[in-house]
Symmetry: C2
Subunit: 346 residues, 2 copies
């Protein structure tokens, strides 16, 4: 009896050990699976996000937010994907100049098209805002919405950025993609609120970010209803600015397109300042976060707040940094808060 009892106990012990091991492994797996933000390092930024979601989605929380009011807005350039050294949409417009001049050869000797065609990078970089708007008008308007969409789609498939030699749509930040999904899984509707062209971003926003066209708020141009030769109606993109979705245009664009004050907003530059301020001004718990580009080896480091020159692409001033600290906005350090930046990294 003793022997059989010992055997029984041995088996029980073995079972218990195996079971405990199993539970440990299972627990570790479950913890890994249950971390919705695996590309974020533990720290104040990640913690702020998780706490915000808990406080606004837990029904017993005094700061619970009904699902229909859960709106989160994201700047795009520098917040969801790389903006340096030059905004992707501007690269598109410069690339399109060749095609535009082919259709209108008289532009070849007219500025600023002549400079763009020369390929002289330094001269191109010195073009004025006025010149840039001429290029935007010529390359982004005057065609049907369908033709424009097809052109952008084709360009995105073939164009490569000069540093990583990848499609521009691959230069999206993995931690932010995880954040978009995490918020959506918690009943938030995620919107892009960008200074870039609304129609441009809509071409890829659903595939790249899971954000449908109706949730893209951007700089808005007018369209004009008309008919083709067969009498079929279509919309032409007009050189008429309806709303410049930058600075004050961001809260104004949010009101126009959404009609609700966001509960969370994410940006990375002075152009996002008023969107974050507007978001934080609401009642209850609100989340405002600013991405700080401080990782030259893995991405870029830029902006006066780091004592670096203002390259006018995604300006992050010391003033903005101070305001963030003062008003309880969370600054995300790419270097410290992000374990991994791009999905293509090993």
């Amino acid at each position: 009896m003793r022997s059989s009892r010992r055997t029984f106990l041995k088996h029980l012990l073995a079972f218990a050990t195996t079971f405990r091991l199993f539970m440990t492994v299972a627990g570790a797996q479950s913890a890994a699976q249950s971390d919705p933000l695996p590309s974020w390092n533990d720290g104040p930024a990640k913690q702020a996000i998780v706490e915000f979601v808990q406080k606004t989605t837990d029904k017993s929380s005094p700061t619970f937010v009904p699902q229909e009011e859960r709106i989160a807005t994201f700047d795009q350039d520098g917040t969801l994907w790389v903006e340096h050294p030059i905004y992707t949409q501007v690269v598109y417009c410069l690339d399109r100049v060749t095609a535009v001049v082919k259709e209108k050869p008289e532009l070849a000797n007219v500025e600023p098209f002549k400079t763009v065609l020369s390929g002289d990078r330094e001269a191109i970089a010195k073009l004025s805002m006025h010149d840039l708007f001429k290029i935007l008008d010529a390359t982004l308007t005057g065609m049907s919405v369908d033709d424009f969409n097809a052109e952008v789609k084709k360009w995105l498939e073939t164009a490569r950025d000069p540093r990583w030699k990848r499609r521009y749509t691959e230069l999206t930040y993995l931690p932010m993609i995880e954040l978009l999904k995490y918020l959506r899984a918690n009943g938030y509707r995620t919107y892009i609120v960008t200074g870039g062209g609304q129609d441009f971003v809509r071409v890829y926003s659903e595939e790249v970010y899971g954000i449908p066209p109706e949730q893209v708020v951007g700089t808005m141009g007018g369209t004009k209803y008309g008919y083709d030769k067969e009498g079929k109606p279509f919309l032409t993109k007009e050189p008429k600015l309806l709303l410049n979705d930058d600075n004050a245009g961001k809260p104004e664009g949010i009101h126009l397109m959404i009609g609700r004050q966001p509960y969370a907003a994410f940006g990375n530059s002075t152009g996002d300042r008023l969107m974050l301020e507007y978001t934080k001004a609401g009642d209850g718990v609100r989340l405002a976060m600013l991405i700080f580009h401080d990782d030259a080896p893995r991405e870029y480091a830029y902006g006066p707040a780091q004592g670096l020159p203002d390259t006018r692409v995604g300006t992050f001033t010391q003033e903005l940094y101070d305001e963030a600290k003062k008003d309880g906005w969370i600054v995300i350090s790419m270097k410290n808060d992000w374990k991994r930046i791009f999905a293509f990294e090993n």
Copy 2:
């Protein structure tokens, strides 16, 4: 044995009868429950709706539409609620003139405010479009978005229409409310696309139609970001027209706010013509419907297509009627297609 068998059979018969009765009642209930459009009479209009939904939501259908593309757009005045004898928003603006003059007494002797304050209905009816725009600017702009929302909400609670003596929000068409719900239950996102003010309609659209603010496309005015005395940011409604959401403005507004071509569109006047044309121009199965106000006893009858005078509120010309018939748009006769018009009817 015979006796007990007879008893058994009697019980069985009783049970079967009861069971059949039960099944009949349950079947009738189930049939009633399964009709999603109980306020619609059987006929071509109801049939067109049900067929459209089947053809676009049945996965085995060659004209199946993925859920993210299921967009249905609805005009408001005359399509979702009563527009005669005068648009509700115009009644609001006229009512607001008193409050505006109280704040700016110098307007009391200035036209068109003087005429509105006189209460002379005939003189008011003769005001020009230019005068009307002055009234719209004075009553719809110059205040914060929050103050405007609160004013409209208060007015909707107290104002009564002259014919039914009911709140304006009760003058919504029950068959259309059923249709909105039916489409949403089948994965469609329902949008209002109205010539009325976007901000005005947003105040009640969620409660009245189940349509959230971000799905209201209307005539759009600009706003201006600023600060109150305590430094809290807010948006002021500006007298700046961004888009007149009528005629060609409807497809243009749909592109701006949604960025997708609708699969179904509903209207009732020439102002909706291009929205319906744009919708029908898409590939696959598309539904375009026009409500025909031909029911003077229960609502109103108006429009040249019935040989009645053009009152310029919801004009329905013979030309529009002919185009509808030619292009396969479905005309909904209020008289024949709607069993019940308002929820408050017995």
